[in-house]
Symmetry: C2
C-alpha cells in the first residue's frame, strides 16, 4: 500500500468515527487501515481532539482497557446547542402550524434529516451516562427523532406498535390510558424478541402532554423486565403540571397553543437556555 | 483566530461534509470557518477527494455555478457494497427469523442504525440522478430505511399513515388494494401540507410482494400532482413475478420463505452481485 499522508489519514479517520457515533474503534483498526504504527495513530487522535474542540464539533475520547479504543460523540457546544434550539423554537412558532384543537403541526420539522439529527444529538447528550442498550419509541411521528437519538448513542431502535402484526411474531400487548383527561384506553404491542430481560431502555418521543403513552411504554418495559434508564421528549406541555411519569426531560416547553386566538407559546426548556 | 493547520482543517471539513450528505457547501463557508483563502480550501478538497477515493469511503464533488460548492456523497465502492449486502443476506437467512405464515422477521435489522445507514447509502446511490425532492414511505416498519435514504440524499422524509390524525391537519385519504391476492382494501392518509404540486417523490419501503402498498403511494402522489421519480425497496419477493408497479428496484430478492419446511431463500438482487 502506498504511503498515506497525515492530512489524508485525519480526514478519513474522523469521517469513519463521526459516521459511527459513540462506537469504540480500536487503534489497531486504524493501524491496519492506514498501515501505520500505534504511536502515529495516537498522535493523529490528539490532533483531531484539538481540532474538534476548537470548532465545537464534538468530542473524541480515548477509552482505556481491553475493550478500549477511540470514540466520537457528536456533542454540540452550549452556544451552538442553544442557537439550534432557539432557531427551532422560532420555526415551531410560525403562523399556520396551529391546527384545530390546539395541535401543533411538527411532522415536517421532525422528518427533516438535518433537524432530526440535531434533536438526536441534543437528546443523546442527556443520556450517554445512562448507558442505554436501546431506544424505545411508540409509532409513528417521533420515529425519526428516536432513530437519530439511537444513531448518536450507537444503539438499536425498538418501535412499539398500535397493533401486533403477524410479521413481527409473538408480541406482548398492553392497554394504557391515553388522553390528558385519562378517558381513553389504547393498545400498545411489542414483539417478544425485540427486548431481552435486564436490558436498559431509553424512552424517546416527540410529544408529551399527560404522559399516558410514556407510562404505557414504561409499563411495557416492566413486562419485558427491562430497566427504564431515562425518558426524553422533544416537546412537553406546561399543563398539566403533574405528568403520569416523573423525571421526563424535554427540549421544548409548550405553554399555550390556542387555535381560537392563534397563540403558540413554545420555548426552549430552562435547562437548555 | 489562531492559525489552523491543514491536517486539522481536513479532518473538520470532511466531518462537516460527511454529516450533511449530498448538501452543497460553498467554499466561502469553509474560508470563513477556517479563515483561509479560497485557493487553500480548493487544495484541501483535492487532497480529501484522493483520500476518500483511496479508501472507497465516498465521493467529494465540486459543483460549478452560482449555487456551486462542494458536496459529499456516501457512495460505497462496488466491493464494499457487495460485501455489506452479502453479510446482510446471511443475517436474514438466520434460522428463527421465519414466522408462521412465511413472514420474515426483519425489524431488528431495519432499526439498527448502522444497518439502516448502509441500506440508506445503497438505496440513495440508485436515485441521485433522479433528483427527488423528498422520500415517501408508508408507516411503520420501513421508516428507518426510508429516513436514512432521505438523510443520504439530503431531502426530507414524508410518512403516509394508516389513518389521518388530528394533529396533522387536513389530509388526503385514499383506498388501495392490499395483499397479494388483491382481496383487501386498506386506507392510506397523508397530510395536505406535506407535499406540493410538481415535487419529485422517491418511494422507499422495506418489503414488496404484490406491490399494492406501493401502488397506493403512487396513487397518493397523483392526488398531490407530484411526480414519482423512483421506487426502491429493501426486499422484493420473486413471486408474483407481475407486480402492480413496474420498475421497482430491490436490494434483496426473497425467492422462498416456507414456515413448514423452514426454508428461507433470500439473496442479493442480481444488479448488486
Amino acid at each position: 500500500m502506498e504511503r498515506i499522508k497525515r492530512s489524508e489519514r485525519l480526514g478519513v479517520m474522523l469521517s469513519v468515527l463521526s459516521q459511527t457515533p459513540n462506537r469504540i474503534h480500536t487503534l489497531g483498526e486504524f493501524c491496519s487501515m492506514f498501515n501505520a504504527a500505534k504511536s502515529t495513530i495516537s498522535e493523529d487522535i490528539d490532533i483531531l481532539q484539538d481540532a474538534l474542540a476548537k470548532f465545537g464539533m464534538g468530542e473524541l475520547t480515548t477509552v482505556a482497557g481491553a475493550a478500549g479504543g477511540v470514540r466520537y460523540r457528536a456533542i454540540m457546544d452550549p452556544d451552538t446547542s442553544r442557537g439550534a434550539l432557539e432557531a427551532l423554537a422560532a420555526r415551531l412558532r410560525e403562523p399556520g402550524r396551529l391546527l384545530p384543537g390546539g395541535f401543533l403541526y411538527t411532522s415536517d420539522v421532525i422528518a427533516d434529516p438535518e433537524t432530526a439529527g440535531t434533536l438526536g444529538k441534543l437528546l443523546a447528550r442527556l443520556y450517554y451516562d445512562a448507558r442505554p442498550d436501546f431506544v424505545l419509541t411508540m409509532e409513528t411521528k417521533g420515529i425519526p427523532i428516536a432513530f437519530m437519538t439511537a444513531y448518536m448513542l450507537g444503539v438499536p431502535l425498538v418501535i412499539a406498535r398500535r397493533d401486533s402484526h403477524t410479521y413481527e411474531g409473538p408480541a406482548v400487548k398492553i392497554n394504557y390510558i391515553a388522553g390528558a383527561a385519562g378517558d381513553r384506553i389504547e393498545t400498545m404491542a411489542l414483539a417478544r424478541r425485540s427486548v431481552s430481560p435486564g436490558q436498559r431502555a431509553l424512552i424517546i418521543d416527540d410529544f408529551m402532554k399527560g404522559g399516558g403513552t410514556i407510562q404505557g411504554m414504561v409499563d411495557m418495559m416492566r413486562e419485558f423486565q427491562a430497566e427504564v434508564v431515562g425518558v426524553g421528549v422533544m416537546i412537553a406541555t406546561a399543563k398539566p403540571v403533574e405528568k403520569r411519569v416523573k423525571g421526563v426531560k424535554s427540549l421544548f416547553t409548550l405553554a399555550e397553543a390556542d387555535a381560537r386566538t392563534g397563540t403558540v407559546d413554545i420555548s426552549v426548556s430552562p435547562q437548555f437556555r
